[in-house]
């Protein structure tokens, strides 16, 4: 798809680089984002990469719509895509036991399988983080193998606890703060997802991958204590 430059008021523009949720399109979004970060354009104040577009906020007293559109056309053409060959993977511990996995049995029933099989399907694939949004540090992420057949719950819960890991189809999100939610809770991570005490408060970033590491209840409690003391760090690995 040709890039589209959509007006979002006098101080923002959406650069739409595709009309699908895919690694290819998102790679182009992050490619343009990286290019503009490396070689900034005067007047741009903030960028918000999402699934298929980059929102560029700018000051019209520094650069006007038509002028910026021309610059971004050139940049989008030269930027290309961020490399998908090198994966940055964050290993996020998850406990699938008892009250930490309140919907695990429901997931198994909906999928027509065992809870062990749900855990295997959920934890044996990596999840690509398309973007952060909705709440601080909330990743929108998906796997590309063995999607679940079920979608949302029939009725949403008014509040689920921060730390919950929720699923539907091929999607799995980490929930950083208590919030209403209509997805099933498959497990809970002992790690604080968004922690403003950390130098980088956000556990994962757009373009990175999440790998869930199943841990026992005992291990969960141990990590939670370390995390509360500010001593736990998730393992980050890079794969070619």
């Amino acid at each position: 798809m040709e890039a589209r430059f959509l007006p979002a008021g006098d101080c923002a523009m959406l650069v739409q680089l595709g009309d699908a949720i895919s690694l290819e399109v998102n790679g182009r979004v992050l490619g343009l984002y990286e290019d503009l970060k490396k070689d900034p354009v005067e007047g741009i104040t903030e960028m918000v990469p999402t699934y298929a577009s980059l929102m560029v906020q700018y000051r019209p007293d520094k650069v006007r719509f038509q002028e910026l559109k021309k610059i971004l056309e050139e940049r989008a053409a030269r930027a290309g895509s961020v490399s998908q060959t090198r994966k940055v993977i964050r290993e996020v511990p998850i406990c699938y036991e008892g009250d930490l996995a309140p919907d695990l049995e429901e997931c198994a029933r909906l999928q027509g399988t065992t809870t062990d099989e749900i855990i295997r399907m959920h934890s044996s694939h990596d999840y690509y983080v398309y973007m952060l949004g909705f709440a601080p540090g909330h990743p929108y992420s998906a796997r590309f193998e063995e999607p679940f057949s079920f979608r949302r719950r029939e009725t949403a819960r008014l509040s689920i606890p921060g730390g919950s890991v929720v699923v539907q189809q091929n999607l799995s999100d980490l929930i950083p703060f208590d919030q209403p939610c209509g997805w099933n809770i498959v497990g809970t991570t002992p790690v604080t997802i968004t922690d403003f005490r950390r130098e980088d408060p956000f556990l994962v970033h757009a373009g990175e991958w999440v790998r869930y590491i199943p841990v026992s209840r005992r291990e969960y409690d141990r990590i939670k204590k370390e995390d509360a003391a500010g001593r736990y760090k998730v393992r980050t690995i890079e794969e070619a």
Partner: protein, 315 residues
């Protein structure tokens, strides 16, 4: 030393120009709803225009001063009273240690701003002191002020130069209806040309569901999308007019979420966002279509006006 909140008012938060650069991580921008009144309060108080100030909603707080300081009150007129005597808004005021400033209810407008010369001594979070109460970020412990809060003053001033000219003409806010200018897009193509015309032809009513996140409207006839109105979630600018599946528009404001999956028919121009900040539930709102060129001319004009006032007061 500093100030003590003796009564918090209805909803009083610390705000500045907002948190820039963190929407990409899902952190809302926040910041003053009426940037114009907010900046004028700071300029009157001799501050940088984007210094943190208190945003007061409908009824402001009562504040005891423990040091001499210069303050300025702008936005909705909450009839400030200093030690029992009425004092003017849009005017720099010298207050003394021990003084009590009491705000009442605004009869017009919705949001007032109280700026302190030298600013309040509050640690910024992610580069901003703005309060995002829904997520507990920034401001005073991430929440609205409450009785008993004590806040330090960074660099209190007993007086400012040229105090006699530190006064501006207060605006008069409408009470029944507002008209705001809108640039169509980014997803105006999710509506038929007739429906887009209807959007600009027929107004809507501002509902009670109106807070710092957004202003929900009620149209007599809901807007119809060409499709189901869902888009691949993308970024949301200040003033974006989202149209959810039910066809009732929502104007997205300071504490808006960073991404959303509903089509956005248009965006209220920056220069007209203060009108929304000062409107109230029950009022009517109408949308006027303008070109990008005009919207950006108006933006530039308002920056120049603010620069001129800054020069007049503080150069």
């Amino acid at each position: 030393m500093g100030i003590t909140i003796e009564d918090a008012g209805v909803f009083t938060t610390l705000q500045d120009a907002g948190r820039t650069g963190y929407q990409q991580f899902g952190v809302s921008v926040s910041g003053a709803m009426d940037m114009e009144a907010f900046r004028l309060a700071n300029l009157l108080a001799g501050n940088d225009r984007d210094e943190g100030a208190l945003e007061m909603t409908y009824k402001g707080p009562s504040i005891r001063f423990e040091e001499d300081e210069v303050i300025a009150v702008t936005g909705a007129d909450m009839r400030p009273v200093l030690n029992g005597e009425s004092v003017p808004v849009y005017t720099a005021l010298a207050v003394r240690a021990g003084d009590l400033l009491e705000m009442g209810f605004a009869s017009r407008g919705a949001r007032g701003y109280l700026a302190f010369a030298g600013g309040l001594a509050v640690e910024p979070v992610m580069g901003s002191v703005s309060t995002l109460a829904s997520k507990g970020i920034g401001g005073i412990e991430g929440r609205a002020l409450k009785k008993g809060d004590r806040i330090g003053l960074k660099a209190p001033k007993g007086t400012l130069s040229r105090m006699e000219r530190r006064s501006l003409v207060p605006p008069v806010y409408p009470t029944d209806s507002i008209a705001v200018r809108v640039v169509p897009g980014p997803q105006d193509d999710a509506f038929s040309p007739e429906e887009l015309r209807n959007f600009f032809w027929y107004g809507a009513e501002i509902t009670n569901d109106f807070d710092r996140m957004g202003c929900r409207l009620k149209r007599e006839t809901p807007l119809k999308h060409l499709g189901d109105g869902n888009i691949i979630s993308d970024g949301i600018a200040a003033g974006s007019i989202q149209v959810p599946t039910n066809g009732q528009p929502i104007i997205m404001l300071s504490d808006r979420q960073t991404v959303g999956g509903y089509a956005k028919i248009g965006t209220v121009i920056t220069a007209d966002l203060p009108k929304i900040a000062q409107s109230r539930p029950g009022m009517k709102i109408r949308f006027i279509r303008v070109s990008m060129d005009l919207a950006q001319d108006l933006y530039i004009r308002s920056v120049k006006e603010m620069d001129a006032i800054d020069t007049y007061l503080n150069a």
